[in-house]
Amino acid sequence: MRDKSIRKVLVIGSGPIVIGQAAEFDYAGTQACRSLREEGVEVVLLNSNPATIMTDREIADHVYIEPLCTEVVEKLIERERPDSILPTLGGQAGLNLAVALSESGFLESHSVRLIGTTELTIRKAEDRLLFKETMERIGEPVAPSRIVRSVSEGLLAAEEIGYPVVLRPAYTLGGSGGGIAQEREQCREILENGLRLSRVHEVLVEQSIAGWKEIEYELMRDSAGNAVSICNMENLDPVGVHTGDSIVCAPSQTLSDREYQLLRSSALRIVTELGITGGCNVQFALDPESFRYFVIEVNPRVSRSSALASKATGYPIARVSAKLALGYTLDEIRNEVTGVGYASFEPALDYCVVKMPRLPFDKFRTAEHLLGTQMKATGEVMAIAQCFEAGLMKAIRSLEQHLSGLRSHDYSALDEYELGELLLRVDERRIFVCAEAIRRGMKLERIHELTGIDLWFLGKLRRLTEMEGRLLGEELSGELLLEAKRLGFPDSVIAELCGKSEGEILEMRRKLGILASFQMVDTCAAEFSAKTPYYYSVYGSQDEAGREGREQAGKKKVLILGSGPIRIGQGIEFDYCSVHCSFAFSGEGWETIIVNNNPETVSTDFDISDRLYFEPLCPEDLRNIVELEKPDAAVVQFGGQTAISLTGALREMGVSILGTSPEDVDRAEDRELFDEILEKNGIRRPEGRSVRTMEEAKHAASELGYPVLVRPSYVLGGQGMRIAISDSDLEEYILAIDESAKEHPILIDKYVRGKELEVDAVYDGSEILIPGIMEHIERSGIHSGDSISVYPPRGLRPLARKRLLEATEKLARALCVRGLINIQFIAREDEIYVIEVNPRSSRTVPYLSKVTGIPIVSIAARILCGHSLHEQGYRPGLFPETGYYAVKMPVFSFEKLRGADIALGPEMKSTGECLGIAKDFHEALYKAFRGAGVQLPKHKNMVITVRDEDKEEILPIAGRFAALGYRIFATRGSWKALRKGGIDCHMVRKLEQESPNILDLVLGHELDLIIDTPGDGAGASRDGFEIRRNAVETGVYVLTAIDTARALAEALESRIEELSLVDIASF
């Protein structure tokens, strides 16, 4: 029964997107907020992440984009007086905050209670010892482990537990210092290093269960004790690879019913003992040779896995969790998907779901590719199919890494020995290596021995390689073609293998009627007739999505392309835009059709669009949908680069594109065409050239003069962008440019130093609305996504502002923009230079919408529907400033990616962002740093090591830190410069010099921050790299840009005593 005493609920989000905590919490939080408001509950939302949908004023009654820290939550509770907190929907961050406040007694003294799950439940699941005790009490096995504080203690523990053992140092990030020890000597080595790296000098010694099957269950339990299992999942990669980095399928494939029920029953006992109310995830390791199992982990909250389970089954876990927190029981909550029955049932799947991780190694080439217990993926894709093979093939092409199948990574040049070695390497390409080994005739049993991957999965890879062989060797019959399509082969791969063209394959398929049909995800395996139009494609089965003329009368249909997996450079912002686009078109009376493959997102929720297709965002897959739906138009400007790059394909299918025409998008990308526009409109840009060969590049650079900015055209997130200071630099970069980008020209620009500015604007064909101008704290040369961005700009000269606004309008007009346009400028004194124009949504749109109160995406979408700004009631020009400063701070996940260089540059590296908003600029800045997890000062020790060009500029900054009471250490060159400038500091030896050196300082665990500006160019600062890595892994804050350092000093100087809170829903 609904607990009527719950009237006002505080929901805490998960903060910035980082590896391990991504868009899934926006999905869960948004669904939960909507579910609560349906029940008449007043929702107060707190999340520091402005790119989320949950922080929209349409989603909650009061929205606070503030740092996630106890003092903020306390103030918020005092101000808003909620009666309850729902802590289980905001990931670990939200959960930890709620527990901290509960433990301190604050909640009790303010008559606020945790709903959904109690503090004791959370502690039982999260506290290692308490969890172990709880499991032992109910007879659920956990792997034997011990915490040790010395090498001898550790060796003893390892003997007792038995080798191999896993060693995990406490409080190190990214799993650094940990490892698996097979024997004593190895164990000693890892222990010595691990104890040193651990801030508390503790290492956990645990029995290794690497190689066991990893199985997960998603469960729901209500306050009356009813519990159900929503979905189980099996990892293709055995225990040892984080489930977030594993290929995962649902439901489990290699478990007999006895094993399935054994673990299901165990999971239910665990949620019952823990007293969970809501969603819960239990992870198991199952011995592949017996019924033995261990409980690995329990998450007493919604998680990434529950987002996956929701999308895989159609069961809305977060929505139901929120209702359960209000006191409803499972049998009182309707099944919204089928409209039949209640939430107290277990979904039955009649398809196979495959999830693949999206790893960021394309952005971090130096990072270690090995996968282990520390998650490294930034996002994931999901595919639904009738068989595992087709699921895997769909997932591979959904990754948008230029992969079309198992042959996309070519290992044919390797010899048998090398192949065997590679099979032992656990990285993201392992299945491709397995496929090559199978092609060479290696026995599946042998591959299983080397990789631990279950024979069943290897058998599926074999079926795919056998099909490759048949397509290569046999005449393409209709039967063979149908079989290949059933296994998920795209036409492009079939064509390549058969030596035909893609067009010929398509023609043959049309002639033979081998066409995709769509089936419904209905939660019940067709047992009941479902209402929710959520589809996936299959071959050789009846279609369920076609409407044979039973269209909604008078409604036009719009196809909205999503943005695929979350990766660096294309984050949650674009999902935000896609969702709002769908809402806006719905509001205009259109029928909306979303295509996307990212299970973590709001856009793939069952009630965001009229029809949802869970499919790869590739031309062939889109064509299937287009031919069935025959949409009146498509919208691509909201789905990031993914959607934009499909524009041509859609046009070939005869779909009209709403908004800026593809030709005009091309004009913005094409150097010469764009230069023409600029010239005609009298707008300046840094001088540059478009080149195709190395010789042309060198020639251009010498004409322009170094330093120059080099980048391939047609990229987002600055991928492949570099500053080159010499010919040899230039050479190295051009050789390293991504293969895929080479079909487009390379751009070489004069590098202009100045204030970087950015605008997002909406243009209806005659008038322009500019919601705001943003200023980047870091000067040009650092990717805009990695810069601290300030709205409104400070110190922009009136003349420059005027020129900027004029240029924006002229560009929008010249490019015939309809909808959104994003422009980046450099301002140098009164002059402005255009550096980039993107006639589409950008990553700043959500943040700017929130701080200005202008629903930018909705306005743009309505323009696409034919309503001018004037009709919509907006006056043209720059929207008046709101009186608030908003500082967007990039957030990085460097500690999770061993070997990744953290130095900032023109290529984007941040995974997420947070916002600081206040009337006072310094407070906003301070809040932004706090939101990003920077809480200083602590020990008041810092290191300065800067390149020669910065030695002048660092002086005043160092002086400010000294005045703040900081003890400054510096490497020789910087020390000299600082001393000369009259700054008191201590010299510290470089890394390669004898101990004690800078590394000892870092590992002394008493350092607050390092300011390390590496020189430009590829060869610069290779040993600085080592220091930065060690610092990041031990939790030291590292700054690699001088402007960021200045901003930090400024924020600390302001000595904000008390934070103000801003309800953006009241704007």
């Binding site: 009356a224 004790g225 009813n226 159900v228 299992s229 439901p251 489990s252 494939q253 290699t254 478990l255 007999s256 019913d257 006895r258 399935y260 029920q261 299901r264 029953s265 239910l268 592949p288 040779e289 017996s290 029981t329 499972l330 049998d331 039949v340 029955g341 209640y342 107290s344 049932f345 277990e346 979904p347 039955a348 799947l349 009649d350 398809y351 196979c352 009738q386 068989c387 595992f388 599946l444 279950d454 024979l455 069943w456 058998g459 074999r462 079926r463 089936q519 019940c524 395996a525 067709a526 047992e527 009941f528 007739s529 050789g540 089965s541 009846q542």
Partner: protein
Amino acid sequence: MDAYLLLENGAEFHGCFIGPEKELISEIVFNTSMSGYLELVTDPSYTGQAVVLSYPLIGNYGVCREDMESERPLLSALLVRELAELESNWRSEGNLRDFLIRYDIPGISGLDTRAVIKQLREHGTMNGLISGRHYEGEEREALLRRIRDYRVRDAVRRAGRKEISEYPPSGDGGMWTAERPRFRVALFDFGAKQNMIRSLQKRGCHVTLYPPATRAESILRFAPDGILLSNGPGDPAEERELIGEVRRLYESEIPIFAICLGHQLMALAVGAKTYRLKYGHRGGNQPVKDIESGRVYISSQNHGYAVDAKSMNPEIAAELFRNVNDGSNEGFRYLRKRILSVQFHPEACPGPGDSAFLFDRFMDMMEAGHER
């Protein structure tokens, strides 16, 4: 080899034979379990029925003979989307294809199982023809009439075991031994699943299994501590003799636990009515609600008929469980009797064992019987 499934409404589906290539007419039902195909194939309640599995990948973990729910499969055919080429599990002793061949059970793979299930869902359970031939014209019309007329006969007699057999408490039955069992339970076998016997054995019971042709007196003569009425195939209302025997058991004072067909026969024995469900409940995800406690349990189910709760005399039994999805009856508590009956399968296999506690309740009923 091509195989065809022709439903009585004329809908036809194509696939390939797995196992023996036979032509036969059968009732066609579907099951939505995602695991447990071997338990399902060997469940005697499917006697005379061909089963369509909604989960598309079947045979993944091979055949583990200890998971069999009876000595041999009794279903008439198995219809699947895809049969695994390579099975993998540490207990597997072979693949499902060989298993079906060994017991001469035909199967079809490559079938558009979802489309078949939607036919059954919309039109209700139907009969169908499994054949290597595609029929047309007159021949087809004649066949369709034959298909429609087909009825499962003698299912219970075929499903039940032929002789009385004894099952002592199992090793994990704790302190209870063959000489000194906790309780002596008579199992009236209408096609009992093996796990009913195992569930009793591991609770320390000695089980004596009586074939379906047994008279009630023969069971009562041995004065068992309790009687379990098993699951089984077919239309319960047609089993007039059995209903009579169950009535006599009802009249005794012996505690009775009745499952599935047993539950229906007991209801019929006291005058209630049964009816045919449109397409049955078959799967491992059926929610049932304990009306007294309000608790919901996920249950394993396999039945095409149900008891009409309204037809039950409220003086005789109170409804104990109800299906959350469609509100149909799932169990009774008999008043002034130590009789408990459920429509679902607390012995699971396949499916969730959430309601296994009902066997403990049966133990308590027998305990109370002793105390009297």
